[in-house]
Every structure is written in C-alpha cells, then in structure tokens.
Symmetry: C3
Subunit: 342 residues, 3 copies
C-alpha cells in the first residue's frame, strides 16, 4: 500500500501538521521507523522518540508536544483506536481469504456446515456439530459432537472444542486452546483416593470473544461455564469449571480463575493473577498482575493488587515499607536497648 499523509488523514478523520504530500508504504514502530514509514505514539513512554524518528508520518494525540520532530503529524482523538482501524484495513487487503474444504478432513455426515466455511486438512467435525456461515476451522482443530460454532468465528490450528460447547459469532480461538475439558472435580473416597465426579455440563461463549493460545476453559459440572460477549482472554489462561466471566472483561496471560467464581463486566485481570473459587468480582474491577484474590470484591470500579490483596494504592505503599523493614528492625533494636528490653 502507498498512501499520502493527506489521504491517510482524511481516512482517519484527523488534523494534519506538516507536508500533506509525503507518502508512506508501511507501518513501523517509532523507535525503528525509517523514511517512507508511518508510525505512531500512543504510550507516553515512547514520546521521547519523536525527536529522533525518521518516520515520514506519525499518528499523535492532540496536545502531545511535537515541536522537535521532522515528521508530518496526524493529530487524532484516540491514536490507539485509529491505529486499530487502520490495521484492520491493512489486514483485509493482505490476508488470504480462506474458504472451502481441504482434502483429508473428517466431517461427520450429521454435521451442519454453513456457507463460505473453511475447513483445513486434518480438522475433525463430530456428529451433529454446527458450523455457521463464514466459520474458519484451521487444520488439526477438533469440534466435538453437537458443538455449535457461530458465524465468522475462527478456530486456529489445533484449537479444540469438546462435545456440547457453544461458541458465539465473530470469535477467535488460537492454537492449542482447549474449551470444554472436564472440570477438576473429585470426591475423596474412603480408601484415601478420589472418585471422579463426571462433568456433565458444558461451556457457553458469547460473541466477539478472543481466546489465546493454549488457554483452557473447563466445562461445568452440571450447568455451563460462561464467557460473556466481548471478553478477551490471553494465552495460557486457566478458567475452571462453573466460572462466569462478564462481558468485555479482559484476562491477561497465565492468570487463573478457580471454580464457580463469577467475574463481572468490564473487568481487567492482570497476568499471572489468581482468583480462588466461589467468589464474586464486581463490574469494572481492575486486578493487578500477580495479585492473589482470596475473597469477593463487592464494590465496582476499584483497583486491587498484591498478596495479600489490597487496594492498589495501599499495596504500593506496603511494598515500599517492606523494602524498609531492615531499617525498622534496626530502629526498634536501638529503642529497645535504650529501655532495657534486650
């Protein structure tokens, strides 16, 4: 693609500062962009590169100082969102549009396959499964019996849905994700071992959900593990049986949600965080990376972090104090000597 700063500015409905005729051919990060590249700054950490970048055009928020840059600037209300639109446009132009059924697939005679569907080689579609229009099932995917995949959903190579899973439309499931494996349910028996509790429920996932590579979402024991519309789940995340995740909640890599916990809408759960089972998290809660959540969080819109879990600001203070513990112990030692406590 080759596009002028002026045309790009019109496309993104921005305000131009600088040469309208300079042309760009590709997107590049601000720190490594060269002449002919389009770049952007959305994270303030990267503003320092404005003075030195060789990019021809830079997307920038209103108000950010650009007096030292030689690039043409396109001012935008929301750089990140405009970038997303632009990249979606570029992806549509460049990505091959897969459609049709490759050789060596296994598609049950009782499966229903919609129009414009892609089924890659070695994919398995079980009895009674339903693939709606525009679904893409890449090679090595497994779609179990009576599993339903909504329209325009993509299963990347080796994604697996156990039987009875329901997946909405416009979802993306990455390689190696496992949806609907048995929940971890066992009853201790009198011989000191465990009896398996069959997991008879399923997983129900809304529309516009993304599930990262090698993440696992277990089926419910009885009813349904539920993932709300618009939820975004990163790689290697564990979602246990009977969990419910609210709409537009984002869960970062390697976080884990234990059984039967209910997470509200519009929450963010940081990477490697862990939530115990059987608790409820209010809407708009933000949980920091590596936090350990041991009880319900009832008040919406708050920030939490740490182990033990505290409001984020308090945790920052506590973390600073922990580093000062040696000084504290010393002070007390001194005070104690003065008063004969040693």
């Amino acid at each position: 693609m080759e596009i002028s700063a002026e045309a790009l500015c019109a496309l993104l409905a921005g305000i131009l500062e600088g040469d309208p005729e300079v042309k760009v051919t590709k997107l590049a990060p601000i720190e490594s962009a060269g002449p002919g590249d389009l770049s952007f700054v959305s994270n303030p950490k990267y503003e320092k590169y404005l003075a030195t970048t060789a990019a021809s055009v830079v997307l920038l928020a209103h108000g950010v100082d650009s007096c030292h840059t030689k690039a043409t600037i396109i001012r935008l209300h929301d750089v990140y969102q405009s970038l997303a639109q632009l990249m979606q446009h570029m992806e549509r132009l460049s990505k091959p549009h897969k459609v049709g059924i490759e050789p060596m697939t296994y598609v049950s005679a009782s499966a229903q396959v919609g129009e414009d569907v892609y089924i890659g080689a070695f994919a398995y579609v079980g009895d009674g499964a339903v693939l709606a229009n525009g679904v893409k099932v890449y090679p090595h995917c497994y779609v179990g019996e009576h599993t339903r995949i909504g329209s325009h959903t993509i299963l990347y190579p080796g994604a697996r849905c156990y039987p009875g899973v329901q997946l909405g439309s416009h979802c993306v499931v990455h390689s190696g994700a496992v949806i609907g494996a048995d929940g971890f349910g066992f009853a201790p028996n009198s011989q000191g071992g465990y009896d398996k509790i069959p997991q008879l429920g399923n997983v129900v996932i809304g529309d516009h959900v993304e599930i990262g590579a090698n993440s696992t979402i277990d089926r419910a024991a009885l009813a349904s593990t539920k993932i709300g519309d618009g939820a975004k789940i990163d790689n290697l995340v564990m979602i246990a049986h009977n969990v419910e995740i609210g709409r537009n909640t984002a869960i970062v890599a390697q976080a884990g949600i234990s059984g039967s916990t209910k997470v509200g809408e519009q929450c963010v759960i940081g990477g490697q965080a862990g939530l115990v089972g059987h608790i409820s998290i209010a809407n708009n809660t933000r949980i920091g990376a590596r936090a350990g959540v041991g009880k319900s969080l009832a008040q919406p819109g708050k920030d939490w972090s740490g182990v033990p879990l505290m409001e984020h600001k308090k945790n920052l203070k506590i973390q600073a104090l922990i580093k000062q513990l040696p000084l504290l112990f010393e002070q007390i030692h001194t005070l104690s000597i003065k008063h004969g406590n040693q």
Copy 2:
C-alpha cells in the same frame, strides 16, 4: 432420566425427609435449580440457598439445618461422594460409547492394539506402541514408539505421549497434555552458551491418574519421571524431569514442580504454587495456592502457604500484620521522636 425421591434415596442408601413420590429429571446447581430438579449442598457456602431453592429434591449431609426448605431432603453420610456415584451413573447412560478405528488413522504395523479400542481419525500410534483393551485414543493424539497405554485409559483429542512413556490403566489424559517431552537440561559451555543434555529417560504413570488439559510432564534425564496411582493433575501444570509424585496426590492448575523433587502420597498442591527442585515433601502435606516452596518439608500432615513459605496459620497471621505495616512505621516514628532518634 426420571426417578422418584424414594428410588433415588434407595440407590444412594440415604434417609428421606419429605415427599417420597416427587420425581426429578436432571441435576442442577442449588442456586438455579427449578421444580423437577435434583440438587445438593456439600459446600457450607451454599447452605443459604436451602431456604429459597425451587429444587424438588436436595442431597444434604446429616446435621445440616433444613427447616426452611420446601424440597424433599435425602440425608447422606458424604454428599460429594454420593453425587460422584450418581453422576457416574448418569454419564454411563448418556455418553456415546466410542469403539473401533475411524478412517485416516496412522497405526504402525508393529503396534499392538487390544480389544474394544477406539482410535479416532488423525491419531498416530507409533512402532511397537501398545494399546491395551478398552483404550480410547481420540483424534489428533500422538502415541510415540514403544509407548504403552494401560487398559481403559482415555486420551482426549490432541493428547501426546512421546516415545517410551508408560501410562497405567483407567487413566484420563485431557487435550493438549504433553507427556514425555525433554526435561530442561543444559550444561553451560565455554562459549557462554548451553549444550543440550539429551534426556534419555521416560515417564511412568500409575493407574487411575487424571492429567489436565495442556499440562506437561517431562521425561527424566536418565531414569523415570514417576506419577503414582490415583494422582490427579489439573490443567496447565508443569512437572519437570525426574520428579516423583506419590499416590493420590492432587495438583491444582498452573502449579509447577521443579526437577528431581519428590512429592509424597496424599498431598494437595494448590493452584499456581511452585516447588523448587531437588526437595522432598512428606506424605499428607497440604500446600496452599500460590505458595513458593524452597526447601524440603519433612513432617507429614502439615499445612503450608505463602512466600516465604510458612505454616499456614502463621502465614495468615503474617499476612494480617503486613497490612498493618503503615501503622507500625508510624508508631516507631512517634517513639523515635520522643527519644531523639530522628
């Protein structure tokens, strides 16, 4: 299935309170059950729903107060275990009994395949592999050369056993689990890099073991990584080379056990916990979620948690004190001022 409270009570050897003739058709969670549903309370957190549930029949332990419920009650010694039995019964009635070899499988001519075996499409069974009677190998599974799978063991879609793995009978291995990949063994070399130490051992797994989705159990460098009979391993767990896990030990999701560590029998290791290598954990040890275990735990039957690891009761106390650190620093500041230490 439709069954009367009376018949159900006889099946589970319980004691009936209420209408013996009311019929139930399916199991449902206590908080969402409706008329015609069978439900249960085993976790005290859910006893509050007894007063409001619309379930027709509820399984309940002896001694739990049920005076406010309208449901028929079946009193049981161990609700969770009775539930497991009941659900196993329901699963046998409902789940399709897979048997036979689907098209497009790769089964080596030198592999031994027992009776009543299921091999799904795109499964790979290598030279000299042995599948005992009743084994189920779902689509996309990989059974390496000379790997032995015991009777009635199930490998769900995309489970993988590297060559030479031994898996007992009545095991369940979920999708994406990897058994027998190389241990992480490297020797630093004089060029600042690493030379790979070939991992020449294998993995030996007992009977009645369950291994969760996308968990990994590495092969030993020389001898065998060992998982004892009845061990239950959740999703995304990492078990490193040369580890030994005792019988009936349960390991919750995302926990990791480092190389050569020996975990005793009947232990429970919480989610996201981590154990360093080359240590021993006594039988009946319980390790809390997210605990960091840095040294051997020699005394059996104890509860541990936290980072640094402490006896669980002490850790709870320490966690409470950590939250009070700001107050403590303030007190010392006051005391110091009084005595001219500032």
Copy 3:
C-alpha cells in the same frame, strides 16, 4: 553399550582413580545406580550418596572428596558438560533416525522441502513454506504459509508455527508450542468493549534455540518478536508480542514476559517469574523463581528476586524479617505501653 572405565576416561579426557577394567553398560542416578552402572555427581547435594552408591564408575569433579566410595572415579573439569557429551553420544547410537515423508501429510505444492527431511503423518506445510535440509516435522505439526524452518531443526508432534514465522537452524520445538499467534492487542472502544488491533508482524527465532512444550510466543503487532541464538525456553512459558530475548538467555517453566520488553543476553529468568511490558533487562541478569519484575534493570550481571523485586541478597534478608514480624509487633507494643502510647 558396554565400555570400560579406562576407555570412558579416555573418551572424556579425565583422570582415573580405581579399577580401569571395570565395565559399565548404562547411566543411572547416583542414588539408585547398581553394579555395572555409570553414575555422576555434579550437584553437591548428591555427594552424600558417594559413600553408599553401588555404581561401578562415577564421574566426579576434581577436589570432591571420594575416600568413602567403592566405585572407580573419573575426575573431570566439568562433570555436567562431560555428561552432556556422553549422553549426546549415547543418543546418537540409540535414537531412530527419522527421514522421509509419511502417508497422509499435507504439503503445499509451493512449499520448498530440502534433503533428508522427515514429515510425519498429518503434518501440514502451507503455501510457500520452506523446510531446509535435515528438518524434522513430526505428526500433527502446522507450518503456516511462508514460514521458514532452518536446517536440522526439529518440530515435535503438534508444534505449530503460524504464517510468516522464521525459525533458525538446529532448533528444537516441543509438542504443543505455539509460535506466532496474535499478540494481545486491543483498543478500548466507545461502547465499553475492545477493537482488535490486527497483529501484522511475525516471530524471528535464531539458531540453536529450544522451546518447551506448550509454550507460546506471540507475533509482533508490526515488526518482529525476536528470540536470539542459543536461547533456551522451558515449558508453558509465555512470550508476548514485540518482546526481544537476547542470545543464550534461559527462561524457566511458566515464566511470562509481557509485551515489548527486551531481555539481554546470557540472562536467566526463573520459573513462574513475571516481567511487565516495555522494560529492558541488562545482559547477564539473573531473576529468581517467582520474582515480579516491574521496572527496567540497567546494571548487568546482578541477581534479583522477590515481590517487590530486590537484589537477591536483600530479598533473602527481607524474607527472614517478614517471618519475624509477630515478634516486632510485640516489641513495639511493649515499648508503646511503657511510654503511654496505647
């Protein structure tokens, strides 16, 4: 293999102590080795077994006391490295040399396949992909469009490379590893949800890199996620989009590196550690298991651990003080009472 202590000593260029004619047939761990076994001690924790081992020959570093052992000793400068060489020798003798294309593979007509390549059944090699000489692609692997695999690299069963990935030579990728899935990039939109930012970059991996089972390395948003030559990555590790890992850096199981972070050369990142995004880690940094790294570490060659992150020695001290908090609170209570602060 059967070999005399004398021949083995010559092969490893060591110094013999004891019977040169005793023969060994296999390697075994020091604590379980029997007569006819070769064993070794490289970790001081295992020196205690020297007195009791039944091994016929033991590899040992210069200077380690062996006066109580009955075994023949071969003294070496670097036991671990010699062991690596010996085991590589044994592996070459024992492991089947896979070559050729099995039935039921999907290899695009536009893919380039070198000499001496192995492609297992059900492997998928997309349009324009390149497999250099000596590459091994095991069953169920996915090699996306225009992905390039360097010479003698091994993809174990079910390893997956999305389109456009570049993998060097002499690499090992274990089962279930996913290279090149979309980075976790979304722009919040005005409806409270997220718009996906297409991930248009790729992953570029150097030579002699090992990637563990079920690890995930995401593709960059624009440019490349980069893994340097000789890097060693364990199982279930998460490497986010735009990350750069320096040469010869080792990352232990279940660690996670967030987006755009740059890790230097010759670093070691412990198991379950987590690094936030957009930071830089200096060369030769060692980060302890379970550490939480929240900011750049600019000084090379240092050891860090803990949450909050501290220099490792300081963290050990702090951990000890944390355990003494109850005592501290008590002392202050006593002091406060004396001075009327209660």
